[in-house]
Symmetry: C3
């Protein structure tokens, strides 16, 4: 039951991340196949790195190519319908936020299911949540989203931490999933909506950077 | 026999991709060891990602270091002879096209040989054909070639699709290899020669990108 | 005994590379969690790629999460103390040089211990020494350090070559470690201190780059 819920959320995360990859492709005015490539790499990239690092074989989408096919369908649909949207970049950021929060939880959950220790599970939640977007931004020729000023990686970390800690504390899985998602999405949403950011490192005026 | 042909084409693909890596190094005026690094990463990068994703161990060039040695020799030769060339960037693009077409076929073939499903085999053809060049362009500090306007990823996809579909249809392997290569190289050549491109996504004039 | 020395040097390399990642984060004025991410990826990135390519499972820091925790602690400390430093970028380059030299040796050593051939061991030394820094520079939105003019990859190659050749020649391990480190650090230090570089490729005046 719970495993099915995690599975469902994982699918949903792949959908929204694919859409963000396709939206980056639309900003770069790529062709249909470019959309499919960027959408797929973004949708399954984070999970691929997670599986490689955990030594999970076969990689999830090699075992179940339906994941890849779904990414291609979503990206293709975005190619034809993105022109309807009036605020593509804003939408991209919000979809990315949903994907980030979903993968922070499902990435951690998947790591725990493969026997990883809590520290590694949190790291895998953060990696699943962030690397798809990082690869998307680098392939898209832009600046990685992690360099933006508002809360980003912190949100993924919070979601993964809440999920793993509550899971280990024996709280019911339904609740931990919900609270983990809420922690990540809530923080990222505050970043997007109010521009909230954590204290950032500030160089001293007289600090020589050479 | 056929396995040997695939093997030969794979070697040839590694040669030409190494040369493109070394040509990028020449554009960045790197030293001899820089040439060797960029040539090697480009020559064996796509196949390394393919092997990692398929869970093939040992990775092809770890099993047979001759692949790596060949990349180093080609890159070194490029260091000494690239000044003879008068149209380095043009040559780079055409060599890249040959490598792309070869790897679209051999990458798919290698995936099928390791028991991958057709969808995954096509994906591995595209990944083998494109990721070496993508890594080359990112390490070389340039814009990834996939962002160029003319047909690129589409050519890799066409080659991989033709090869995998015809193979599954039971067509003689000689023919499928040839037609797969032709599909990929022909499309990419049309892109390079006539600047042919697929319809690209166009933002509406009044579309807000913020 | 020797294995413990290699282990110790590996830890030290991870420390200094983490610090360089955190210093890049400070240049980008990231928040605390950004420091932890960039510091960790830089500290354990090169070794992760080495383990993936050699098929070593579990990856070293998945087996021993203390490595990851150490990276996080170092990065966090850098967040609070980097403002004391007056020459952050200079320090970054020198720490990077120490990490490069350490990983050239320990990366090669680890590959030999996993049964890799000498050619592959040298390649793994170079990969361990350089890929952490490459990922750091790409995620940090900057130009990869391998594109800098002075000796860099050459130093890693020299260290790995000296270590592997002397090891195979049966020289006492203490000595080979020391000489390998010295070769790599010495060359890189000459590059940093005197701007020493190998002959670089120079395009001809009349060479057409299009």
């Amino acid at each position: 039951m719970i495993q099915q819920l995690i599975h469902l959320l994982d699918w949903f995360g792949i959908f929204v991340f694919s859409a963000t990859g396709a939206l980056v492709a639309s900003r770069k005015e790529m062709d249909l196949v470019g959309f499919a490539l960027l959408g797929s790499v973004t949708g399954i990239g984070g999970g691929t790195i997670r599986d490689l690092i955990l030594g999970v074989q076969p990689i999830f989408w090699v075992e179940q190519p339906a994941y890849l096919v779904a990414c291609i369908i979503i990206s293709t649909a975005t190619f034809f319908f993105a022109h309807i949207l009036h605020h593509r970049y804003r939408l991209l950021l919000w979809l990315d936020a949903v994907g980030l929060a979903l993968f922070a939880v499902t990435g951690s959950s998947s790591a725990l299911a493969h026997g990883a220790s809590p520290v590694i599970a949190v790291a895998m939640g953060v990696a699943s949540a962030s690397f798809g977007g990082i690869i998307r931004d680098i392939l898209g020729g832009g600046s990685p989203i992690i360099l933006r000023q508002e809360i980003y990686i912190t949100a993924a970390l919070a979601g993964a931490l809440v999920y793993v800690l509550l899971s280990r504390a024996g709280i019911h899985e339904d609740v931990t999933i919900f609270l983990g998602f809420l922690a990540a999405f809530g923080l990222r949403a505050m970043g997007l909506y109010w521009g909230l950011s954590l204290p950032r490192y500030r160089a001293l005026k007289d600090q020589d950077d050479a």
